[in-house]
Point group: C2
Chain length 190, copies 2
Amino acid sequence: MELLKKRILEEGKTIGSDVVKVDMFLNHQIDVELLCEIGKEFHRLFAASNINKIVTIEASGIGIACIAAQYFSVPVVFAKKGANRNVGDNIYKADVYSFTKGITTTIGISKDYLGPDDRVLIIDDFMANGKAVHGLINIINQAGATVEGIGIVIEKGFQPGGDALRSLGYRVESLAVIKSIDNGKIVFGN
Amino acid sequence: MELLKKRILEEGKTIGSDVVKVDMFLNHQIDVELLCEIGKEFHRLFAASNINKIVTIEASGIGIACIAAQYFSVPVVFAKKGANRNVGDNIYKADVYSFTKGITTTIGISKDYLGPDDRVLIIDDFMANGKAVHGLINIINQAGATVEGIGIVIEKGFQPGGDALRSLGYRVESLAVIKSIDNGKIVFGN
């Protein structure tokens, strides 16, 4: 997605060779106009997939998922982080290890909002090692629902998450794939 | 907002005399079509207020804020919970006590995304004691920005948050005000 790559190049801040911060338009401050274009692009890519639910994970996936869901006319369900949180015991859970934070978090989705009839598009802002998406797939499998596709805004192509999921047969569509960050220069692989 | 009150009556689950769960359409599973109507209603209420930024708090405020922001054509900034979180030290912080969880959380917004030129609409899903909104106001004040209004989807009118903010001179617009929950029966005050 050229508009997105342009914004990443113009505004993204690299740290070392593996971090690019886009919290000026994607995951702290949110440019909702850009989000609409991202949502339309996900819809263009997955319109034929007969999706009836979008699943994401709190917090920064929620805005993207909600905006995208408008174009699919489907509801969003977001996995909550941490236990309890007013959801009760009636919950599918999975553990997700974060390399960034060095901790494991339990994520959960209520059994009331995911079931065998659900054909799910997973949406998230970033994919690096893919642990969050694996956690969501685990939960979707527990529910007997189907993963129809995975839509990622920015994939770090130099980390193994995206290709590992593709090799498992999942359709992963990343709107910007960063191939490398070399002396602050971002090189895209798509 | 009649459509919202209808949904609360039809689907909301009360627990005792002070909890109503609406996580089937608002804050776990999200009915994005309803969210669009909520966003339009916030825009109708605050269209004259010359707002140039919407501020909310993770996680369940984000979807509502992003959908509403489309109608205002402004960006969203969401306060993050917990320290660090890849945001750095360049951050306005406030402590927020949660009665539900019985804990104090530090919320923060990067100094890069809030400043004296910002005329802010605060949006959140629920208001009870108003602690989260007070934390956001604290941060907005630190930034020298202006609070133009506060838009709440569901206010628990039997708890003091909304009226305390109104008595401080803030314009608080709640789309559904729950006056009481009596033997499972929800009574609205608006």
